[in-house]
């Protein structure tokens, strides 16, 4: 069991560093085991340093930087062990245009092996989808599926 956890941890950590560097176009990030010598007891600390900035507490990152760092970690786990499907509810809300582009690029790559359902208000994210489901409440209080758009 300890074997499995350490293996997973190191693989995810490697993915996390690579994804962070991609999503931030540089910069460094990593996970480390803390609070215990025993890997089965240790907690996981997160460090993130966007390009050109000094390493400091993750709390000082901006709203968008925190969201993107969180996505780097989430996707790092997916590259290690893909889930059958992934549902993302407005995770792109704090991101600026440039970061949405980078997020979408990674999303498209992962979508080859993981099915994504993405709830969003963002046009760029919508443009990256293969299928678009529209929900409306023309009749107040009643949700209805109204449009399905397929690419190609």
């Amino acid at each position: 069991a300890q074997e499995r956890f350490v293996q997973a941890f190191e693989a995810i950590n490697a993915n996390f560093q690579a994804l962070f560097a991609r999503l931030f176009e540089g910069g460094r990030a990593g996970l480390c085991l803390v609070e215990s010598e025993d890997p089965l007891e240790a907690g996981i600390e997160l460090q993130a340093q966007p390009r050109g900035k000094r390493l400091q507490a993750v709390s000082l990152l901006s709203g968008g930087e925190k969201a993107l760092t969180g996505l780097a970690l989430l996707f790092a786990i997916f590259y290690f062990r893909p889930s059958p499907f992934c549902l993302l509810d407005e995770v792109d809300a704090p991101l600026d245009d440039a970061n949405i582009d980078r997020f979408v690029r990674v999303l498209r790559e992962l979508s080859a092996q993981t099915q994504f359902i993405v709830i969003t208000h963002n046009r760029k994210t919508m443009e990256a989808a293969d299928v678009l489901y529209g929900i409306t409440m023309d009749e107040p209080g009643l949700s209805r599926l109204v449009s399905v758009t397929l690419k190609d």
């Binding site: 609070e35 996981i44 989430l74 549902l87 999303l107 489901y133 107040p140």
Partner: protein, 164 residues
């Protein structure tokens, strides 16, 4: 395996039966504030066995049953069904697996596997090891993503452990 369809009937704002057919790749769900997008996310969680009404933004589990609108009376039953394709990830012989959940306003509740009544435990055991469960990191919203960064090291570990 992937998620082939989500059917909602009487679940939150989906008074009328609604079926979302999903394909591999990226599906975007869009619409104005309050139209029901996150309710679809709630439905998926709920059908997979979510036990806490608060996670679904309610105070009692009964809150997920359509409670009426200016033009409709409340309904007495909420039902969600998920159909998964099975390429061998699930230890059952069927190529499609339907997971269903019902809640009646009198409190009676059912879980169904391919339309046959079962226990929550059966659904839980079926998906064990696949990463498909109501608490999965694969069901992520903005608030929870931010929390991942501010969480205590011990809580963050749980996240990684699930994948190990």
């Amino acid at each position: 395996m992937h998620l082939q369809s989500v059917a909602l009937h009487g679940f939150k704002s989906f008074a009328d039966k609604t079926v979302l057919t999903l394909r591999p790749g990226v599906t975007a769900i869009v619409g104005p504030n309050g139209c029901g997008k996150s309710n679809v996310a709630d439905a998926i969680r709920w059908a997979l066995g979510e036990q806490s009404p608060k996670t679904l933004r309610g105070q009692r589990m009964e809150d997920v049953i359509f409670h009426g609108s200016v033009s409709r009376r409340p309904l007495g039953l909420a039902e969600v069904s998920l159909v998964f394709t099975n390429d061998g990830d699930l230890a059952v012989p069927w190529s499609e697996v339907m997971v269903g959940r019902r809640l009646y306003r009198d409190g009676e509740s059912e879980y169904l596997l391919n339309r046959t009544a079962c226990r929550l435990k059966d659904i839980h055991d079926l998906f064990l090891g696949t990463g498909v469960n109501p608490k999965a990191y694969a069901l992520m919203e903005q608030e929870r993503l931010a929390h991942l960064l501010t969480a205590r090291p011990i809580d963050r570990r749980v996240f990684i452990e699930e994948a190990a």
